[in-house]
């Protein structure tokens, strides 16, 4: 276990190093370079730009710039936003709770509903329920999220007025009920796609397992069908799905670009879109690195969880 963790830590470090280099290079290669905000602004003079370059250290060799930036990231000094000069770390950490709330709720909901639908569809293979959920999943997966989000706003916020059209809280009201009220529409829109994914994956995994000899053995013992299904079937069927959960874990921090934008949800996704359009590179690079770290951690966590639940998997075999 310890050797596995050390191995993975070394691999992860190399990977994150690569990501940071690619991200840093892209920033320099993009039209306008790191100072695109200023160079593409006609009111800023060439002298001003020279002055800013020296100020930000952009007159130094690129590798020096990189190591200064990377060193800053590691030591907690993430730099300052081009707009308003706020600390990047504060900007990013400010957005985390909103995204965590939205994505956590959606993921948890999708996991429970998706696994339930998938299991039932696998048990009642080729039934009306199976076909109906298959078609439903196809529709949910093929609809563009922004379009579905806009429809939801139009019907449930605009026409019926049941839910607010966007934002996280009403001005002057910070009660829990108000937050939940704001949460409903974006969670439903997000969960729809996630439920579709989880139900399909669970169904196919469950069908594989239900055909296994050990499920037949369990039936031959005369134990109850629900016990066969959950203790014997689902237990084995969920193992391959842990990896999927690991892949979706970064959503908790990365947020949903489209949904957060459509519902003006003040999370990481919305932040990313806005700093992307304003080329606020210090913030953009920080989001990129935070995202990369979470992806690496999510996968590591999935591997550890699989080893914990499946006795056949040993971590030191890597």
């Amino acid at each position: 276990m310890a050797r596995f963790l050390i191995n993975r830590l070394i691999q992860s470090t190399v990977l994150l190093f690569g990501v940071s280099i690619v991200g840093f290079a892209l920033m320099h290669l993009a039209p306008g370079g790191p100072l695109a905000v200023y160079t593409l602004n006609p009111t800023v003079t060439a002298q001003d730009i020279e002055r800013i370059k020296v100020l930000f250290g952009l007159d130094q060799p690129v590798y020096v710039q990189y190591f200064k930036w990377a060193g800053g990231l590691l030591s907690g000094n993430w730099g300052y936003s081009f707009f308003g000069g706020q600390q990047v770390r504060e900007i990013v950490l400010d957005r985390l709770p909103a995204t965590f709330l939205l994505m956590g709720t959606s993921l948890a909901l999708a996991l429970v509903i998706g696994v339930a639908i998938g299991t039932l569809a696998a048990v009642k293979r080729n039934s009306v329920f199976d076909y109906a959920t298959a078609i439903g999943a196809m529709i949910a997966l093929s609809l563009p999220t922004f379009w579905f989000g806009l429809l939801a706003i139009f019907f449930f916020a605009q026409t019926l007025g049941w839910f607010p059209a966007g934002g996280m809280v009403s001005i002057g009201d910070s009660s829990l009920l108000d937050r939940l009220h704001h949460l409903v529409l974006p969670v439903v829109v997000l969960a729809l796609v996630l439920v579709a994914q989880w139900s399909r994956y669970t169904r196919s995994s469950m069908i594989d397992i239900l055909d296994q000899d050990f499920v037949r053995t369990a039936r031959a013992k005369g134990i109850s069908p629900s016990r066969v299904l959950v203790n014997h079937g689902l237990r084995a069927a969920l193992v391959p799905l842990v990896a999927l959960a690991g892949l979706q874990l970064p959503l908790l921090v990365g947020g949903a670009l489209v949904t957060e934008t459509v519902f003006s949800w003040p999370g990481m996704g919305l932040l990313f879109i806005s700093v992307l359009s304003t080329r606020d590179y210090p913030v953009l690079m920080a989001i990129l690195m935070v995202g990369a770290v979470v992806v690496v951690l999510g996968n590591l966590l999935a591997d550890i969880v699989v080893a914990l639940v499946d006795p056949r998997v040993k971590l030191h075999d890597e």
Binding site: D213, R216, A220, K221, I223, P225, R312
Partner: protein
């Protein structure tokens, strides 16, 4: 110890299992006396395993006909809940491949405990104690330690011992052993058969031993039913069958056992042709592969008694 002498433990009449148009088992009748071991032999696909699974009611998507009385209770007419109460309690099954018959993620001891608590109203502690006793009984050394082991940590022979312990857990009156040694090493095969024979004698249960290995049949069983393409073609006491095989198919089977004293370059006699599609054949199903076939074989022969308790379905036997 023939089926006719005492009231049968199991009486199967006209058992029929059809998957769509293909009749895997086509109206077979036989019985098993208490304490008797009946061998069910035939080549792959002749319907041996399907017969056992039909008696356990573990086949889905098949049309099942006929009757099977176990101690006077008609198994095929029971509703699912009533059948579940018998599975593992009155009628239990040992499967072919111990490597896949056990749940890979559950400790072997707990799998036995589950078989016990499914039918007996005992505490978990008592069940655990009995499971350890069962492990000891099937010849597993250090049963207290082995209780907590996972199947992949045991050899195939050990796993099959666990499967046997699981089937024996509630002392069923009828045991269906479906090729219990086929997946095992030859040296282990003998040990498992010996164990099985000892346990069956001790408990006095009736057994249907399904195998394609005539050597196993000769050493173990009291009576043999030979199956071909879903039908029983010959049935007699084991000694009688080996001494006086009447059906051309039984003849062929016995002739195709390799002899140690025959020359090394002498080919092993085989039965020409294959069983494929035989269930669609009008008349005697073995006729296309039979050297003695004649005009009369176009009419299906019935299973008739020729000697004392010696049944055969062939027109060309004296």
């Amino acid at each position: 110890m023939t089926g006719e002498a005492s009231t049968p433990l199991l009486k199967v009449e006209n058992l029929l299992v059809a998957f769509g148009r293909a009749k895997a088992v086509d109206g077979i009748s036989f019985d098993v006396a208490p304490g008797e071991m009946l061998g069910l032999v035939g080549e792959s696909g002749c319907g041996k395993s399907t017969t056992a699974l039909a008696l356990m009611r573990l086949i889905r998507d098949a049309e099942i006909g006929g009757t099977a009385h176990l101690n006077g209770v008609e198994l095929l007419g029971l509703d699912e809940a009533a059948m579940r109460a018998r599975r593992g309690a009155d009628i239990a099954m040992i499967f072919q491949d111990p490597g896949t018959a056990l749940h890979p993620m559950i400790r072997v001891g707990d799998q036995i405990v589950e078989a016990l608590t499914a039918h007996l109203n005992i505490s978990h502690r008592e069940a655990r104690k009995r499971a350890i006793d069962l492990l000891r009984k099937v010849g597993i050394a250090a049963p207290e330690e082995r209780f907590a082991v996972y199947p992949h940590e045991m050899s195939g022979g050990m796993c099959q011992r666990v499967v046997i312990a699981m089937a024996m857990a509630c002392a069923p009156r009828l045991l269906l052993a479906d090729e219990p040694t086929t997946a095992l090493d030859v040296t282990v095969q003998a040990q498992i058969l010996e164990l099985l024979q000892g346990l069956v004698r001790e408990e006095g249960m009736g057994v249907i031993l399904i195998t394609h290995d005539l050597g196993v049949v000769a050493g173990m069983t009291d009576r043999v039913a030979v199956m071909y393409a879903g039908a029983i073609v010959e049935m007699a006491a084991t000694e009688e069958l080996f001494a006086r095989p009447l059906h051309p198919y039984t003849h062929g089977l016995l002739r195709s056992i390799p002899q140690l004293d025959s020359g090394w370059d002498e080919p092993v006699p085989t039965i020409p042709g294959s069983v494929q599609g035989a269930e669609l054949q009008a008349g005697c199903r073995f006729a296309p592969r039979c050297a003695k076939a004649s005009e009369v074989c176009r009419t299906p022969p019935a299973l008739r008694e020729i000697g004392e308790n010696h049944f055969v379905s062939c027109w060309n036997t004296p």
